[in-house]
């Protein structure tokens, strides 16, 4: 019962994720970011942009539905805290199941990019 319900949500948004070259990759990026340090929403966007050297442009608004979804799935946990410049914000941290999920997604992603690379290389 419960697990089937979760799977349905795992099956994710009925809408395609905009500005995502790969569906679901935003979730993975968020999990990855949070696996390094606890951050609030804006911090996550900043981190992704900086670490991709502005190669990935996240539509910033899309971050929030994604955060809600991840939290609902129990992969991340948001608590009210204070940012580096002393403003009240929800600070997200990754949970144990979130780390497992990150591993799963990373593997899937690796497989996928490898497969794509093979196709592209074969040309």
């Amino acid at each position: 019962m419960i697990s089937s319900c979760r799977l349905r949500i795992l099956g994710m948004g009925r809408k395609a994720q905009k500005n995502d070259s790969l569906p679901g990759s935003l979730d993975m990026l968020i999990l990855r970011t949070l696996s390094l340090r606890d951050l609030h929403g804006y911090g996550i966007v900043q981190y992704i942009q900086q670490s991709s050297q502005n190669g990935l442009l996240v539509e910033e608004g899309s971050l929030y539905p994604a955060l809600q979804r991840l939290e609902l799935n129990g992969w991340i946990d948001g608590v009210w805290g204070v940012t580096s410049n002393n403003r009240r914000a929800r600070i997200y941290k990754i949970t144990a199941t979130g780390r497992k999920q990150l591993a799963v997604e990373t593997r899937k992603y690796a497989k996928l990019t490898l497969a794509i690379a093979r196709v592209m290389g074969a040309e």
Partner: protein, 888 residues
């Protein structure tokens, strides 16, 4: 709540995000406005994103709810028997509640359909010193109320009476209301056509104008829009129609037989009214509208003070021992006060039934929940939260209660008209009964409450089930666990207790009814057929063929001659009122409560001594086979011009001549010194003239040839039925005068029966519910024990293998049932003993703690409980030892 908090957090997060982005851009050298705009642009549509985020939460909630409902439905479909039993009993419970509540709502709760109904009051003139309430009043007293009291916007007396409408076809008798010219403005009504009475219509006597009801307008005038100005012949008087009332309008008071359809007005100062004098008390039924801003208590205080002042100012008109005073009561209370106890008892009964139904369903569900312990345990161990489990179980119960409730409301809507036919017509405002939003809200509330009631127990039970133990017990079916067992015991005990309360109530009502049916009415009602006649009462006496006693006597003699000539009629007689007709003492005609004085005895009250005066023809007591105790009956020669004679009943004799011999004593009616004395010539055994449940009202019978009314009934002793005689009776009467309406032809037994309609209705209804409660309670016990036997089959098998005899097993199971029944019944008896006194006003000849009822009901329920326990016990002895043991 939860979702609102979440939305707020999300909004705050997004605002922070935008602010930080803008700050960063500003630091890069953008202007403030540009930075803000750019931050928004990069963020995308804030509203849309918020919505998307919310959708993620909502879709989870919705999908879980959907799942619960689907899962619940599947469970209901998988257990069709349980579902059908639950839905049917719920439909019964909710349906009965909806129907009864719709009546309670219309009759007791909804304000009266007049303008500012809370300012309408009934005005009573009382003489507490001599124990009289609602005595007549005079025109000067009415004027005092209007001008001197300063508390009323308007006051009117009301005469409710029968009117005869003649014209095309059969003459019709209908109910009319006569009031002052302010009657309609007191009630605050607007006509649908024409106008209503106003001060401009004032005449000292009767106005030759009439206002008619919507019903009469449609029936007699084909809804003619130009009806105003047409002439209506009422009791031979030509009246001009000045207006038509709106469809919903009803006269707020008792009428002779139905809704009032003709409204007339009078000035009370000119003929046929006597010259107004303080002591000439000829008016009845005071109705008034209080001035705005006055509370009932303030108005009452002023009226009490005014009454005291009047007593002082006119000592001759108000003898001090009467303590004459004025009382006001909200009109609604006057109208519905007498049916309130019955309706509340009925409402109580249906609420008890719905309790019993939901306890029964709780029991069924709990039994099933126990069977599902394992499933629940597995689900919890797989990560379902306790809250989620409770929600799942509640969703199932709610689903049941919603289906059952919908079925119940549908039943109520479908059968309401049918049910209303059984509601005695003495209940006022029945025409206002309908299933509206208030009633539907009540039905919904009842459904939800029952759903919660029968859903919570199994829900929390299943949530509490300790995982480990249930899983440990494995697939073999857990034993009869103590916790569930106790909960189920409590449910059964409460169910039985409620059933006892209902059955005791039903027992009391049924016993009352049975006693009344066996009551000796003082005469033999079998083989008697009755018919009612109304003589016209025109305002112009000269046109009245029945204007005085001699004229009416001629009619009476002709009527009796023709009645006796009908083949099959042995004897015929005339009376002004049939025994046990629920008469309205203030109505014109019919029974009249008459003041009289006894020779050589001082007068105590304004009303003198009171007795109901009933004019009869000589053979009346022979037709009824009533027994004359002493003296003589009337003869044909007790007529006008001869000495006036009267026959009294035992109650009158006991009340007014407790010591002496009333025979030969003389009384004078209406305290009128010019009237001759009437001599008492006989004493008759009491006849229940006012209803089988009214005792000891004094009656004085007079000869119809010496004193008579415009309303009369014929009684015929015959072996033929009323329906066979009806055409001949009608024909004979109308060959004397084709303008006479003949109505209510029925056997005397039917007439008697009608006086019990309201008691029969409540007794049968509560009795029916008690029967249902008995069945449900026995199903409850039976189900519990069957389940227990199933759960303990291993133990039973083991016991038998170890040498227990079937009798021991039988005892084991039956004892369980008997103990439960005993506890439930004793609890119920205590509850009933505490609540039975509520019903006192509905009982007659039976005390609320009637020992017979309090013994028979528990015994009956106990016997049923034992029987219900015996079947599962017998089944337990058939447990196959080997199978049971192999399961261990």
């Amino acid at each position: 709540m939860e979702s609102a908090k979440r939305s707020e957090a999300l909004r705050e997060e997004m605002q922070l995000h935008l602010a930080e982005k803008a700050a960063e851009l500003e630091a890069d050298g953008m202007t403030v406005e540009h930075a803000r705009a750019e931050a928004r642009r990069r963020f995308g549509n804030v509203g849309l994103k918020q919505e998307e985020s919310r959708e993620i939460w909502m879709s989870r909630f919705v999908s879980e709810l959907g799942q619960d409902v689907r899962y619940g439905l599947r469970m209901l479909v998988n257990k069709p028997t349980l579902t059908i039993v639950a839905v049917l009993t719920l439909a019964l419970g909710v349906g009965a509640n909806t129907a009864i509540f719709s009546i309670v709502d219309a009759v007791l709760l909804r304000p009266l359909p007049y303008r500012d109904p809370d300012r309408l009051v009934r005005i009573f003139f009382n003489e507490p010193g001599v124990g009289l309430r609602d005595v007549r009043f005079s025109k000067p007293e009415l004027d005092d109320l209007q001008t001197r009291a300063g508390v009323f916007e308007g006051v009117t007396p009301i005469y409710e009476g029968s009117e005869i409408v003649t014209g095309a076809g059969q003459p019709e008798r209908l109910d009319g209301v006569n009031g002052s010219f302010g009657y309609f403005s007191i009630l605050g009504v607007t006509p649908q056509i024409g106008r209503l009475f106003g001060p401009e219509d004032f005449v000292p006597g009767f106005a030759e104008k009439a206002v008619i009801s919507d019903g009469l307008w449609r029936r007699a005038y084909g809804a003619d829009p130009n009806v105003v100005g047409r002439t209506l012949r009422l009791d031979n008087d030509p009246l001009t129609i000045i207006g038509v009332l709106p469809p919903g309008f009803r006269h707020p008071g008792p009428t002779v037989s139905g809704d009032a359809e003709v409204f007339c007005a009078f000035g009370m100062t000119g003929p046929p009214f006597p010259k107004p004098a303080r002591g000439t008390r000829n008016l009845v039924n005071g109705l008034g509208r209080l001035k705005p801003g006055l509370t009932l208590a303030q108005a009452q205080a002023r009226l009490t003070a005014m009454a005291a002042q009047l007593r002082q100012d006119f000592p001759g008109d108000y003898p001090p021992q009467t303590r004459w005073t004025i009382e006001i009561q909200p009109l609604q209370e006057t109208l519905v006060g007498n049916v309130r106890p019955m309706l509340l008892v009925l409402l109580g009964a249906v609420i008890l039934i719905v309790f019993i139904v939901s306890l029964n369903i709780a029991n069924l569900l709990l039994a099933r929940a126990s069977g599902r312990q394992q499933e629940m345990a597995v689900r919890v161990s797989l990560g379902a939260s306790r809250g989620r489990m409770v929600r799942q179980m509640l969703a199932e119960s709610m689903l049941l209660s919603v289906i059952g409730g919908a079925a119940g409301v549908a039943t109520a809507v479908g059968t309401l008209r049918f049910v209303l036919r059984f509601v005695p017509s003495s209940v006022p405002r029945l025409n206002e009964v309908r299933i509206d939003w208030v009633v539907l809200a009540f039905a919904l509330l009842i459904s939800i409450l029952t759903g919660l009631m029968f859903g919570l127990a199994p829900a929390f039970h299943s949530a509490k089930v300790a995982l480990s133990s249930a899983i440990r017990e494995g697939g073999r079916g857990s034993g009869y666990s103590t916790k569930t067992g106790r909960l189920r015991d409590v449910l059964i005990v409460s169910e039985l207790a409620f059933a006892v309360v209902l059955m005791v109530g039903a027992g009391l009502l049924l016993r009352t009814l049975r006693d009344l049916l066996q009551e000796n009415p003082g005469f033999n009602p079998t083989q008697v057929v009755t018919a009612n006649i109304q003589l016209p009462n025109p305002n112009d006496r000269a046109t009245d063929p029945y204007r005085d006693v001699p004229h009416r006597a001629t009619f009476d003699r002709e009527l009796l001659r023709r009645m006796k000539a009908i083949p099959g009629v042995e004897l015929a007689a005339i009376t002004s009122v049939l025994p046990s007709t629920n008469s309205n003492p203030n109505a014109v005609g019919g029974i009249t409560n008459e003041g009289f004085a006894i020779e050589d005895r001082p007068v105590e009250s304004l009303q003198d001594l009171g007795a109901e005066r009933i004019p009869i023809s000589p053979d009346y007591f022979r037709v009824l086979q009533a027994s004359l105790l002493r003296g003589r009956s009337f003869t044909e020669s007790d007529e006008d011009g001869k000495p006036l004679v009267a026959i009294i009943d035992e109650s009158t004799a006991r009340k007014y001549w407790p010591t002496g011999d009333p025979l030969g004593r003389r009384v004078r009616f209406r305290r009128d010194a010019t009237k001759p004395w009437t001599t008492i010539v006989g004493i008759i055994r009491d006849i229940k003239s006012d209803g089988l449940d009214i005792d000891g009202a004094p009656h004085i019978y007079v000869s119809t040839y010496q004193d008579s009314n415009k309303r009369l009934s014929v009684v015929l002793r015959t072996s033929l039925s009323a329906s066979v005689l009806e055409p001949q009776i009608r024909h004979e009467i109308q060959s004397i005068d084709p303008g006479l309406p003949v109505f209510g032809i029925a056997s005397m037994n039917e007439v008697l029966d009608r006086s019990l309609a309201s008691r029969r209705f409540s007794a049968n209804l509560v009795g029916g519910f008690a029967g249902v409660a008995l069945v449900l309670a026995s199903i409850g016990i039976y189900g519990l024990l069957v389940f227990m036997v199933g759960q303990r089959s291993r133990e039973i098998g083991l016991r038998m293998a170890l040498g227990a005899r079937p009798a021991d097993i039988l005892k084991l199971v039956v004892t369980k049932g008997v103990v439960l029944a005993a506890v439930g019944i004793i609890t119920g008896i205590i509850l009933s003993a505490c609540t039975a006194s509520i019903m006192t006003s509905l009982l007659y000849g039976v005390r609320p703690h009637d020992p017979a009822v309090f013994v028979v009901v528990p015994l009956l329920l106990f016997a049923v409980a034992v029987l219900a326990s015996y079947l599962p016990a017998w089944r337990a002895t058939k447990v196959d030892t080997m199978t049971a043991l192999r399961e261990v």
